[in-house]
Symmetry: C2
C-alpha cells in the first residue's frame, strides 16, 4: 500500500493501517508521512507516576469519561522496556479491556527501543498522525522513573502525576523530577491511610493542584477531568512557546547524543588530544556531518 492508501484506510477505521502509519513515523520515512498528512492538532494529556500507582486504571476511567462526551481517544503507552516490536496493541491490559472493542479508542505501546532521545523524536510525530486520524484526545502514559517525563511534559497539556498515599511514592516522584513537571497531582487509592498527610506533604513541594481519587471505583474522576479542562483552558501563547522550546531542545540534544562521532570525540577529550570546546564545536560543523545531524529526523 502507498502512504496515501494507508491514510485512506486508517481514516476508514482500519486500526491496522493506523498502526502502520505510527510505525512509519518512527522510521526514516517520517517526513514523507507527515507531509502527506498535513499538520493536525489534538489535546494531549500526560499521565505519569511510579510503577503501581494506578496509571492504567486512571487512564481507563479517563478514557470512559471522554468517550461519554463523544470524543475519540488514543492512548500511547511509553514503555522503554516494551517487548512489543514497534508497538503492539496492549490487549493484555485488563483495565483497558472495556475499551478494546471500541473503534473510537486506539491503544498503542510506543517502544523507544533503548534509544536515548527516542521518545522526543517519536512522540510529536505520533501525535500528529493520531490528530490527522481524528482522535480528539491523546493520552500519553509514561512509567515515571526517568527522563521520559520531562520530554512528555514538553508535549502534554497538562501533565498529571499519579501517586499513592505514603512517603514512598512522594520521595520517588521527587527523585524522578516528577513534581517539577506536574501540572496536576492525583493521589490515587486515596481511601487508604495517610492520604491527607501525603496531600499536605506535597503541598510543600509543588504549587500544582492536588486531587484525591480512587480510580478503581471512579471516585474523584469528575474533579480530575474538570482540573484537566481548567488547565487546558488556561493555556497561553507563552506556555505553548515554552513547550515548543523544550521540544526543540530535546530533539537537538537527541540529535547530538546519537551522533556516530560522539564516542570518538569523548575519547579524544579524555586522552587530552582535543579540548572540550573544540570537540563540542565540531558537532556543529558540517565537515563532520552528512549535511545535517538531524537528517534522520526529517
Amino acid at each position: 500500500m502507498t502512504i496515501e492508501e494507508l491514510i485512506a484506510a486508517a481514516r476508514n477505521g482500519s486500526t491496522r493501517a493506523a498502526g502502520r502509519l505510527l510505525s512509519l513515523v518512527e522510521s526514516p520515512r517520517r517526513t514523507e508521512v507527515l507531509t502527506a498528512l498535513g499538520r493536525h492538532v489534538a489535546r494531549v494529556i500526560g499521565i505519569t507516576g511510579p510503577p503501581g500507582a494506578g496509571k492504567s486504571t486512571t487512564i481507563a476511567v479517563l478514557v470512559a469519561a471522554y468517550r461519554e462526551r463523544g470524543l475519540r481517544v488514543a492512548v500511547l503507552a511509553v514503555d522503554p522496556s516494551s517487548p512489543y516490536s514497534g508497538g503492539a496493541l496492549l490487549g493484555d491490559r485488563i483495565r483497558m479491556a472495556a475499551h478494546i472493542n471500541d473503534a473510537d479508542v486506539l491503544i498503542r505501546s510506543v517502544a523507544t527501543r533503548g534509544h536515548l532521545g527516542g521518545l522526543a523524536e517519536a512522540v510529536p510525530a505520533a501525535i500528529n498522525v493520531l490528530a490527522a486520524l481524528s482522535y480528539d484526545v491523546v493520552i500519553i502514559e509514561t512509567v515515571g522513573v526517568g527522563q521520559s517525563e520531562i520530554e512528555i511534559a514538553a508535549v502534554a497539556d497538562p501533565t498529571v502525576v499519579v501517586l499513592n498515599p505514603g512517603a514512598g511514592d512522594a520521595i520517588q516522584a521527587a527523585k524522578a523530577g516528577l513534581l517539577e513537571v506536574a501540572d496536576i497531582v492525583a493521589i490515587n487509592k486515596a481511601d487508604r491511610d495517610g492520604a491527607d498527610q501525603t496531600v499536605r506533604d506535597l503541598h510543600a513541594e509543588t504549587d500544582a493542584p492536588i486531587l484525591k481519587i480512587v480510580a478503581s471505583r471512579g471516585e474523584g474522576i469528575v474533579e480530575l477531568v474538570d482540573a484537566i479542562d481548567a488547565h487546558h483552558r488556561a493555556d497561553t501563547p507563552e506556555r505553548r512557546a515554552a513547550r515548543a522550546r523544550s521540544q526543540i531542545l530535546s530533539l537537538a540534544l537527541s540529535a547530538v547524543r546519537t551522533r556516530p562521532d560522539l564516542d570518538a570525540l569523548a575519547t579524544a577529550v579524555a586522552d587530552g588530544e582535543v579540548d572540550v570546546y573544540t570537540a563540542a564545536a565540531s558537532l556543529f560543523t558540517s565537515a563532520n556531518v552528512n549535511e545535517n545531524p538531524l537528517s534522520t529526523l526529517q
Copy 2:
C-alpha cells in the same frame, strides 16, 4: 598587560593576575588564553549539597588536609546568584578565613550570571587556567539545588554530596538529582540524632560510599580524604570518556539554548508555522548560524 604578561605575573604569585585570567576565559577571548596556556590537568573534586549542609566548612577542612600534604588548592564556588561581578574573592566566608592569607590557596566565586549553560562553558576553562598556574587540586562547590550538579559531575572526580541527618536533606537531595551524581555521600553534623537512620535510608537510594563526618570538629575528614583518593585511583579510561561525553553534551546543549533564533523558532512551532523536527534541524544548518553556534565558546 598582554596575556603572556598576565600569565607570567600569575605564575609569579599574583592572585590579581590569576583572577584576570579567570575572567578572560569567561569572555570571548577564551581561546586566546587557553592557547597561550596550553593544556594542563588538575585533580577536580566536586562538593555539593543543600544550603546549610556545611559545604563550606567541609571544604575548609579539606583544604587544610591537602595543604598539609603540600598541595596547592583552588576553590571555585559556583553561585548563580552571586553579587560579585565576574567573581571576587570570598573574603567574607568566615570558614575560609584561615586560608585567606595562604598564597597557595586561591578561593574564587564563579558567577554564572543567570546564563543557562554558563557553568558548562565556564568551568572547564577555569580548571585549565588553575592547573596551568600549578594548583594541584581544584575543589568546586555548587549549591546543590539545580542543574549545576550534573554539569559539575561531568568535570569532577569524585563528586561528594554533603547532607545533614534527617529526612529533609535526603528528600531535597533526591529531588535535585544529587544522589544520582554522588560518588561519595558525607553525612555532616553526624553527631546529631538520626544520623544512623539517614545512612540506612540513603543506602537504599545509592551505591556510593556513605561517610559520617563532623566537619566543624574535623571528625571523619581523614576517612573522607581517603575515600576521595580511593575513588580517584579507581578512575578508568572509560570513566574519563563518559565524563568527557557529558561535558561535550552539556556544551552542545548550552550552545543551542543560547541561540538567538531559538525563541522565534519556538513561537513558530507553537503557532503551527513549522513542525518541531524542521525547527530543531534548522539549529544545525549553517544558513542560520554565523558559521558556528559555538563560535562564542572558542
